[in-house]
């Protein structure tokens, strides 16, 4: 199949949204567009599995290359491996849920959906690009939508958050840009990931470029201490915006850390792996403890995102095949989980008009559907077996345990301990909002989820269960790709 479809459909949807006459049309066009996109992603998954089943072990499938600029050597070079397919699926799930939960948005509906779809377009393009320049182009494309989504439709100190996010991400981009140009000129003027992966890049140059790229992408994926945009950005964004930010945008960074920094610069990765492990272990623990102190539901999820994303960085830093597979699983799992979490918070906030945990209570009685979903996502977050969080974190720990020196062991144990803290804040948040007596009599008037919210939640819960109950398919998808990366690191 031609991968250009994956960016063609969002592009057409976005244009159609611009031309649409009224709000109803805008919503339905977006929904149809995102459903088509989900269908396409599933078709891609099936086609990918079939291709692999026939014994095609080429690293990238469905490759296409279109010449864009001859000097500097830039091509629209697309292709997918298991990692990309998983990420594309994740994006489609989050997109459709994001479109559904924003159904009742009244302010500038057309612009809202246009930007939302543009944001998804950037993510799709990013995940299929095999040319660093194009990858960077798609990474940057999402800056405008993020900024405007938070600044216009956000709440709280939205201008501050939008500015902070745009500038910090731009800072990350600046580092990435320098790193990419460094690669381009040391490796004989090529931006192509596959070409670069076979080029020998001198060790001393890897030591310079790796931190630039890793930190650059690290800003996107909330690498400690560059995570500070996350709590503000997520808490100020509109519901769909938070879902995209945490569910997809942060994964762009993780994917970049792995595919660009670690894969292309293995010497650098080995050299700096310990620092990555320390930073991600700090992020995991710091994020978890910081979450304990939060009373605002959105802040709770934002800080817990810092903690959860730390697991994927930890997995990357461990540099074993299982750990990297786990890191990737964690990206997918966290993407679904956090999107659902923000969606549920949005639903609750729309009804109660507060996000403060201590002002709510007994919501189970008035909105059973929403609170049930809230339970599921909370349990997924604390790693209950049967849900995706458990599978992912367990794989990371197993992979980490394969490194048997004291340093790695201590880091693994420290990270594993955060699960206890997670259990504390998750159970407390759910308990205080869902259980107990009804704190506010006026809540009795509140309605349970409407059809669009139910559908959004079901889509995401379906994803979480599909990974949690039958993780095999995801493992099959990710493990060969992780192996490819590990082979490169091991110098095979």
């Amino acid at each position: 199949m031609n991968l250009l479809l994956l960016i063609g459909i969002p592009l057409l949807t976005a244009l159609a949204v611009l031309l649409a006459g009224n709000k109803q049309q805008v919503k339905w066009i977006s929904l149809v567009g995102s459903m088509l996109q989900l269908g396409l992603s599933i078709v891609l998954l099936i086609a990918f599995r079939e291709e692999r089943a026939t014994g095609n072990t080429t690293q990238m499938l469905f490759e296409h290359s279109y010449k864009l600029f001859s000097t500097p050597n830039i091509n629209f070079h697309f292709g997918v491996d298991g990692i990309s397919v998983a990420m594309i699926l994740l994006t489609s799930f989050v997109l459709i849920a994001g479109v559904l939960v924003s159904w009742n948005i009244e302010k500038m509906t057309k612009e809202f959906y246009f930007l939302l779809i543009l944001l998804a377009l950037g993510a799709y393009g990013f995940f299929i690009s095999l040319d660093l320049f194009i990858l960077f182009f798609f990474l940057e494309i999402s800056v405008i939508p993020k900024y405007l989504l938070i600044g216009i439709w956000g709440s709280g100190k939205k201008e501050y958050s939008a500015n902070k996010l745009a500038l910090m991400l731009m800072g990350g981009s600046a580092l990435i840009l320098v790193g990419i140009l460094g690669l381009y000129f040391t490796a004989g003027q090529s931006f192509d990931i596959l070409t670069l992966s076979t080029t020998k890049i001198p060790g001393n140059i890897q030591l310079v470029i790796f931190p630039l790229l890793f930190l650059g992408f690290g800003v996107f994926t909330a690498l400690f201490p560059l995570h500070t945009w996350v709590p503000d950005g997520h808490s100020s964004a509109p519901t769909a915006g938070s879902m995209f930010l945490a569910g997809i945008s942060m994964k762009l960074g993780g994917y970049g850390c792995l595919r660009v920094a670690t894969y292309l610069l293995p010497e650098g990765a080995k050299e700096y792996a310990d620092i990555i492990i320390v930073l991600s272990a700090i992020a995991i623990l710091y994020g978890a403890f910081a979450t304990m102190m939060q009373k605002d539901l959105k802040y709770i999820n934002a800080y817990s995102s810092v903690s959860h994303v730390g697991f994927s960085l930890l997995g990357i830093g461990m540099l074993t095949q299982t750990a990297i597979t786990g890191a990737l699983m964690q990206m997918v799992s966290h993407g679904l989980m956090t999107a659902l979490f923000f969606a549920v918070i949005g639903m609750i906030y729309d009804r109660t008009h507060t996000r403060m945990v201590n002002e709510m209570g007994g919501l189970m009685k008035v909105m059973p559907f929403i609170t049930t979903v809230f339970f599921i996502v909370g349990l997924c977050s604390l790693g209950l077996p049967g849900l995706s969080g458990f599978v992912a974190e367990m794989t990371v720990f197993m992979g980490s345990w394969q490194q048997d020196d004291a340093f790695h062991r201590i880091a693994t144990i420290a990270a594993a301990m955060s699960i206890v803290v997670t259990a504390v804040y998750i159970l407390r948040a759910i308990g205080n909002t869902a259980m107990g007596p009804l704190k506010n009599e006026s809540y009795l008037q509140l309605k349970d989820a409407s059809w669009n919210e139910k559908l959004a939640a079901i889509v995401l819960v379906g994803g979480i269960l599909a990974i949690g109950i039958a993780p095999g398919w995801l493992n099959d998808l990710l493990r060969p790709a992780a192996e490819e990366i590990m082979n490169k690191i091991a110098g095979k």
């Binding site: 600029f69 216009i152 320098v178 381009y184 310079v208």
Partner: protein, 465 residues
């Protein structure tokens, strides 16, 4: 004779237009509206004609030479002038001296054409003066405003000063090399102290025209004082033309001094980007804001110029093309707003989106393009400049350039934030845009989006250089 007609075609067309305008002015009085439409049509003809019957060659013993790249550069300037005549038509219609305004503008454009084509120092100096003096008169075009006269005074004094320095440099260079021909100078260059001194003087003159830090002090006051159309002309067309001749002088004439001017360019580029950006952070007036932002943009152009190869030329020409669209769009929107509401401060733009969504989107596109954010063309323009600069391997230089993109994003976002996000009880009212303004804004917007994505445009520039 035939060669004279084809090679100097662009210049002859402009000269013919100037005479035509003179006759119109002398003859019966004509309504401003119809005069303006005639001028717009003429400028459009000039722009389109620029693409036909082009030849390469030189005239008058190499004093004047032209190539397909030079023709393309001239076309870009013509396009800029055409867009200016469309974008600022509201203001132009009200002007009492419409014909004179275009007489001056076309004279300056003629000077620029000769300047880009110049093949020796003498004609270069003459054409530079022709490109400068009419602009000083244009700056003074708001005859009733004191600031306008002040700006004109500053402009004429500082350009006279820079002309003096240029002449001094030319005479020293002539003394040191014994020739004024661009083709022969490089053969005589041996980096002797006298030649270096001469070069520094020449460089300074360029720096004045391009408002490179620390020769930028005239810029903000002149930009603020002049009418918006003139500010746009100064910051886009005038700057573009000087950048074109600057790069060809450096690359062709002073090529033997490459190492020296690379170091100079690096220092000045960093200073220009940093100072331009830092001053832009605090500006309230949109014109001053765009003035400082254009200083910072020149810093980025210098990054590209430091490449000293064909990639540098391509990147700079491409960037200036994008810059014409982006900056003119920004000035166009600012001008429409200031013309109808009299408001020129960034704070006045609060809540603009509610009343004027179209203008806001064009403004946002323009500013994002200036900041270098995709999918706008500015992203490609800026990245190619930085790639060209990185080819020489100065990592710190490139990191500083990349970090400056963050600072610039901050202040461009300030305007966007005011227009899109800030609440305001009394935003600027719905602004009526005439068809020609709207058309020009749409052209600019389309240019901003398409020039980057249509890669054949860049390939076309590559095929020229």
């Amino acid at each position: 004779m035939n060669e004279f007609l084809t090679l100097m075609k662009s210049e002859l067309v402009i000269t013919a237009f100037i005479f035509l305008l003179l006759f119109i002015k002398i003859g019966k009085g004509m309504k401003n509206e119809s005069l303006l439409s005639i001028i717009q049509v003429l400028l459009l003809i000039n722009f389109i004609a620029g693409f036909f019957f082009n030849k390469e060659g030189s005239l008058f013993g190499d004093m004047f030479h032209t190539s397909s790249l030079i023709v393309f550069q001239k076309n870009l300037l013509s396009l800029g002038v055409y867009l200016i005549s469309m974008l600022f038509s509201d203001w132009l219609k009200k002007s009492e001296h419409l014909a004179e305004f275009f007489l001056l503008m076309l004279s300056a454009l003629l000077g620029m054409f000769f300047m880009i084509s110049s093949g020796n120092l003498l004609i270069f100096y003459l054409s530079l003066e022709l490109a400068t003096i009419p602009v000083a008169a244009m700056v003074n075009f708001d005859l009733v405003k004191k600031r306008s006269s002040e700006g004109a005074m500053k402009m004429i004094l500082s350009s006279a000063f820079s002309s003096g320095i240029l002449l001094f440099g030319i005479s020293l260079l002539y003394g040191a090399t014994g020739t004024i021909s661009f083709a022969e100078i490089p053969l005589q260059l041996d980096n002797s102290p006298l030649q270096i001194l001469a070069f520094v003087f020449l460089f300074t003159a360029f720096a004045f025209k391009l408002s490179i830090v620390p020769f930028h002090f005239w810029t903000a006051d002149v930009y603020e004082g002049s009418p918006m159309a003139v500010t746009a002309f100064l910051s886009v067309v005038s700057k573009g033309s000087v950048a074109f001749i600057f790069i060809s002088t450096l690359y062709k004439v002073f090529q033997p001094m490459g190492d020296m001017w690379y170091a100079m360019l690096v220092i000045l580029a960093v200073a220009t980007m940093v100072i331009g950006n830092l001053f832009a952070l605090r500006q309230q007036n949109i014109k001053r804001f765009l003035a400082f932002s254009s200083i910072a943009q020149v810093g980025f152009i210098l990054v590209g110029i430091s490449n000293s190869g064909t990639i540098g030329v391509e990147a700079v020409v491409y960037f200036i093309m994008i810059y014409i669209f982006s900056n003119l769009a920004a000035f166009g929107v600012a001008s429409v707003i200031s013309e109808q509401s009299g408001k020129e401060n960034i704070d006045d733009y609060k809540g603009l989106y509610k009343t004027n969504p179209f203008l806001c989107w064009i403004l946002a596109l323009a500013l994002f393009s200036l900041a270098g954010i995709p999918p706008t063309a500015g992203f490609f323009g800026k990245l190619f400049l930085i790639t060209a600069g990185a080819a020489k391997g100065g990592y710190w230089f490139i990191i500083i350039a990349a970090l400056n993109m963050i600072v610039s994003l901050y202040y461009y976002l300030r305007v966007i934030r005011a227009a899109f996000m800030d609440k305001n009880e009394n935003p600027i009212e719905k602004i009526k845009t005439t068809a020609s303004v709207k058309l020009a804004l749409v052209i600019c917007g389309a240019g901003i989006v398409l020039v980057g994505l249509l890669s054949w445009i860049y390939e076309y520039i590559q095929s020229l250089s």
